[in-house]
Each structure stands twice: as structure tokens, then as C-alpha cells.
Amino acid sequence: MNPRRIGGDLSIVAHGYVRNPIALFFSLIFPVILIMLFGLIFASTGATTVTLYAQDFDHSPTSVAFLQALNKTHLVQVQVVGASVGNLSTYLGQNGDSAGLVIPQGFGQNFTAHRPVKVILYTNPQDASSAGTATGALQSVISAFNLQAACGGNSSGNCTPVIGASSLNVGSQVYTYIDYLVPGLIGFSILTSPMFSMVDVTASYRKDGLFRQLSLTPLTRGEWLASRFIWYTMLTFASAALMLAIGSAIFGAHVTFSIWLVPFLIGGPLFFVSLGMLAGTVSKIPETAAVIGNVITFPMMFLAGTFFPVSSFSPGLQLVAKVLPLYYVIDGMNQVLLFNNLSRAIGDLAVVLIGAVIVFALAIYFFKWRDE
């Protein structure tokens, strides 16, 4: 690896790129258009009914009736989640949901026995309107139940409320769609800009004999690949900066820059530059190579958490996502930018880097300058 030669080749890549408006558009402008588009679409859908995630530890006829009553208010839509999701507050935060309800065990028994019992409502103070809606709906259902319990069965007694509610803020930060969109679209750039052009470049340079031409110079295959890798890493940094800036400045995304983002912005391009080249070596016909490239790229473009968080997928699709290399890039960036979960991020990074090294080695092995 000779830095002078890599630098020389890099300047050729840069010149070629800058003079190719389409490539530039797809690498830098297109993700900006996407974030604006998706950001605006999803920011403006002020949902009229609030989804209330309910964890029912009681499973009694009373608790079921209570949840049904909530649904009948038409202010909230109850979505029952199992105990398996763990702490409801954390779960709500990670899924960008603002309202949740926990019904404790023994709720029905206590209610029937007229012993006081409390449900817990989680709301997000930053999302005042849905917090208000959820609180209102809950209060009205509680009043109706209390009325029935205390006064309905016993006409002479005074009406002491049985059910109370303690209202808590959602414990962890509530993440919204735009928060996921920022790492998702950085991942989109990491995937698409090297994949689309490396496949094409590799196949068409081979067809045009440009690699044989280069084989007559001291430039090595490793240096050639290195200069592309540096170029796409630079593009990735530019695109990440744009996404972070637009996401937080325009849409108020809750992303916090962390130095741990950097390894993903390097490992990701290394993986996909090598993969693009590998795909390009499969066929000498640029059109065939492009098809192969698309077969690899398209599933990742939609299923690895680019436009929609993987946690919102069905369990089956989530399994699919987990075999896609881009998933680990995007999940890692989510951990770093949103959840501050470093240990999981490092696990993701390890997957990305090991994969990148393997694909890089395969690309170098299968990619020949000259024919036999």
C-alpha cells in the first residue's frame, strides 16, 4: 500500500464522481430528499386516537372489561402487550410510543372486594396532546367503574372510589419515527452509494479493459480498492453529517452524536465497497452484474431498518432483517445515537467488521487484473 498511488487514484475517483451528477445526486442529495419527505409525512400525521399500550398482569374479567371500556371511549386504542416485553416504560421509549397502562395483579379481586387498587399510566410530557387524551380517557373509565363499584351495588352507602391512578412519565426518552430515520438513512447511504456504483464500475472496467490497463502500472488491486473505500467513507461522513444536522435542526430528532458512530461510518463502507466489487466480478456483462447487485441491495434497502425501525416489523421479518449485514450497521448506529447502549453497539460493530474483512478478502481473491 503506497499512499502516493492511493492518493493519485483517489483524485481520479473524486474527479470522475464530481463530474457525474447522477452519482453525486444519489449519494448526497437523495438521502436528504428522503429524510425531508419521510420526516414531513410522519410528523404531520397527528393521530386522532392515541394508542395505549397496556400490560395486564391481572387477566381477570374485570381487567378485560376495564380495557374494553377504555377502547369504547374512542379516545384511545388499547393494544395489549405481554409481560415478555419487560419494563413497559423502557419498551414505550424504544418504540416511540407515548402512552402505556399497567394493570397490577389482583386488580379484579380488589375491585370486587372494594379494596383500593391503583393502575399506572405512563405518558410522555413532550407529547402533551396524547398525554392529555390518554389521561382523560383513563379518568372517565375509572369514574364509571368507581361509580358502579361503590354506589351501583349498594344504594345506601357513600361512594368511595376504589380505583385510583398514578400517573408517571415515560421513564426513558421517547423515540419518534424521525429519530430512527436518521441512523436508518445514514445506513441507506452506506449501502447504496458504494453498491450501485462499485458493481457497475467493476463490471464495466473489466469489459473495457481498464483493469488490464491499470495492471500495467504499479497500482495494486488492494490500492485500487483502498482508494474507493476512502472515497466512499468520505461520502458517508458527509451524508451522516447532513442527516444528523437536518434530523435534529428541522425535525428535532433526539440524536446525540457519539464518537462511537465513527467506526460504523468506516466499517459500513468497507463492507459494502468490497461487496459491490465482489458482486461486480461475478459477471463481465455490466447489465448482469447490475441485476446481481440489485438482488443483494434491494432487500437490505427496505428490510434492514432504513426507512422503518426493525422493532416495528413482524417477528418473521425481524428474523429476516437479522441476516442482512446492513441491519448490524443500522442497529449499531441506533444503539450509539439513540439508546447509548454501547455493549450492544460493540457487538454489532464486531459483526460488521468481521464481515467486512471476509468480504474484502474474497473481493481481492476473486478480482483479477488480467485474464489467464
Binding site: 493519485g8 481520479i12 488490464r212 495492471s215 500495467l216 502500472t217 504499479p218
Partner: protein
């Protein structure tokens, strides 16, 4: 003088096809060697084996003492190559291309001087995809010179070019020779081989069918010198009877093969004495083209000239 290129019993097979079939030749250092042959003769295949871009099936190649396939990296510092159809990065200008090659080779070329040498100065800042075929070829030539090669390989450098561009490339080839470089050139233009080359090898169907200087090839394979005279058919009959020799007659012209120069005088005096009208006499030799057509035609009929020179006998 030592040889820049030595080739012995070189063979390249593609399945059943022997694209190059046991060829031998030497190229002395500092000379221009032309590989002349029709399309599909095996010129590019041979050239690329010499450049280390294709692997040979068998035989031996030494270029500057190196085996091009195994010592490619080392050899590439000493040779310059222009492929048959030179291509480069589409959006890059000739000037940038030269600077790029300079950085790859660790040289500080002067783009202006190199572009001037190949007469491409006016296109120094035009993108490659806007250049004409000849201009692209000229850039290829300029790039091959960045590393100051000792041996230059030019595979059909002028095919498809207009006469002006062709002449420009010829001039570069002459300059290369003047600077003491060895040039290996392929062409299917006889004129080009005749004008530029110290040595010519005619290749057909993977075999060398003639080799030497253009003059030697003509003398070995060409027909005898001929006398041509314009006159009526009766004159041809008269000469045949009078001298008892073969006379070809075609479109108002007699053609008589000469065994020696003196023959011409005797024949002309007989013609003059005939009393028949005649004029416009001239003598004529086969050109390299005649020889080429003759040899390649022969090969096509599967008849190998038995006198074809054998390996390693370059004069």
C-alpha cells in the same frame, strides 16, 4: 547489440484453436519491429503475451531478460503499452491522466511536453469521452511514455485513424526510435510496416510466414522484376515468337519477367524492331503488399512455402 525481445516456440491455444502456433523471433534493442498480419492472425494474442497480460500455453518469452507473466510487476516499469483500442476513465482529461500516471509511477512528467509530443495539446483539458478515436490513441501513447519505457508495444495504433492522425503517430514512433527505445508494433497496413520498421514479421493464422527487413522479404518472396510496355496484342505475340519467352498481356499492356537487368535492353530492342506501335515502358518489382497478398493467400489455400525461414535466424 542485444535483443530486447526473444521469443521461442511460443504457443497460445484456445481449446482447439492455436491462435499462436510455434513462433520464433528476436527484436534487437533500439529497433522497430512490425508484426504484420490480417485480422485474427494472432497479433494481439502475441502482443499481450509479450506484455504479460496473457498467459502462454507453451514456449519461452524474454522481454528485457524477464518472463512477462511471472515478472510482470518488474517488467511493467520498463515497458510502455497501448492496447488495440485504448480506453480510459471517461470523465478524466488527458492532462489529469498524465498527472495520474505520474503519481502511479512516482514520476514527475511534464504534461504539456508529452501532449505536445503526441500532438494532443489542443485537447489537454477535454474529457476522455469527448475525444475522437485518434485522440484517444494519442493519449494512450502519451501515457505509455510517462514511465520512460525501454520497450514500447503498440497494438494496431493507427487502425481506423484518419491520415493526419496516422502520420502524427508515425512521427512519435520515429521519435521513440531516435531516443533509443525499442518499438514492437502490430499493423495490418503494409505501408506502415514498410515505412517504420527495421524488421517485419508477417503472421497468418498464428504462424510467421515471412520475416526480415521489408527489402529482404520482397527479395525472398516477391516475384522477379518485370518490364511493362504498352502496345497491341500482336506485339505480345511477336515478342513471344521472337524471343521464346512468356509474355503476359492484359488491358493493352505487355508484362515480361526479367531474369537480369540486361534482359530489358534486349527485349526493348526487339520490340522497337518489330515496327508495331509501342510506348510507355517501365520496370516494376513486387511491393511488400504483393508479397503479403501472395503469402497470406497461399496460407489460406493451405500451401506453406517451403523456403520459409526458420527460428532465430534474424540477420
Amino acid at each position: 547489440m542485444s535483443n530486447a525481445i526473444e521469443v521461442r516456440a511460443l504457443v497460445k491455444r484456445y481449446d482447439a484453436l492455436a491462435a499462436v502456433d510455434h513462433i520464433d523471433f528476436d527484436v534487437p534493442e533500439g529497433s522497430v519491429f512490425a508484426f504484420l498480419g490480417p485480422n485474427g492472425a494472432g497479433k494481439t494474442t502475441t502482443t499481450e503475451m509479450l506484455e504479460g497480460l496473457r498467459r502462454r500455453t507453451s514456449g519461452d518469452i524474454r522481454v528485457l531478460g524477464l518472463d512477462p507473466w511471472t515478472d510482470g510487476q518488474e517488467l511493467h516499469h520498463q515497458i510502455g503499452v497501448i492496447p488495440q483500442e485504448f480506453r480510459f476513465f471517461e470523465k478524466i482529461t488527458p492532462k489529469e491522466a498524465i498527472v495520474y500516471y505520474g503519481r502511479l509511477f512516482g514520476k514527475q512528467p511534464d504534461p504539456a511536453a508529452l501532449l505536445d509530443q503526441v500532438q494532443l495539446t489542443d485537447k489537454a483539458n477535454s474529457r476522455f469521452d469527448t475525444l475522437s478515436g485518434g485522440q484517444k490513441q494519442k493519449l494512450g501513447l502519451a501515457l505509455s511514455l510517462v514511465d520512460e519505457p525501454r520497450v514500447c508495444f503498440l497494438d494496431e495504433p493507427t487502425t481506423g485513424l484518419d491520415p493526419h492522425a496516422r502520420r502524427a503517430i508515425w512521427k512519435v514512433v520515429r521519435d521513440l526510435k531516435r531516443d533509443g527505445r525499442t518499438v514492437f508494433l502490430t499493423t495490418h497496413y503494409l505501408e506502415e510496416a514498410e515505412l517504420l520498421a527495421d524488421q517485419v514479421a508477417i503472421i497468418n493464422r498464428g504462424r510467421i510466414v515471412a520475416r526480415g527487413t521489408p527489402r529482404e522479404i520482397i527479395e525472398t518472396y516477391g516475384g522477379p522484376e518485370r518490364l511493362r510496355v504498352q502496345g497491341p496484342p500482336e506485339l505480345a505475340e511477336y515478342v513471344r515468337q521472337k524471343l521464346g519467352i512468356a509474355v503476359r498481356y492484359e488491358s493493352g499492356r505487355l508484362e515480361i519477367a526479367l531474369r537480369e537487368k540486361g534482359d530489358a535492353l534486349r527485349i526493348l530492342s526487339v520490340i522497337d524492331a518489330s515496327g508495331l506501335p509501342w510506348n510507355g515502358f517501365a520496370t516494376e518489382r513486387d511491393t511488400l503488399e504483393d508479397v503479403f497478398v501472395h503469402l497470406v493467400g497461399q496460407m489460406d489455400e493451405g500451401v506453406l512455402k517451403s523456403a520459409a525461414p526458420t527460428a532465430g535466424g534474424a540477420p
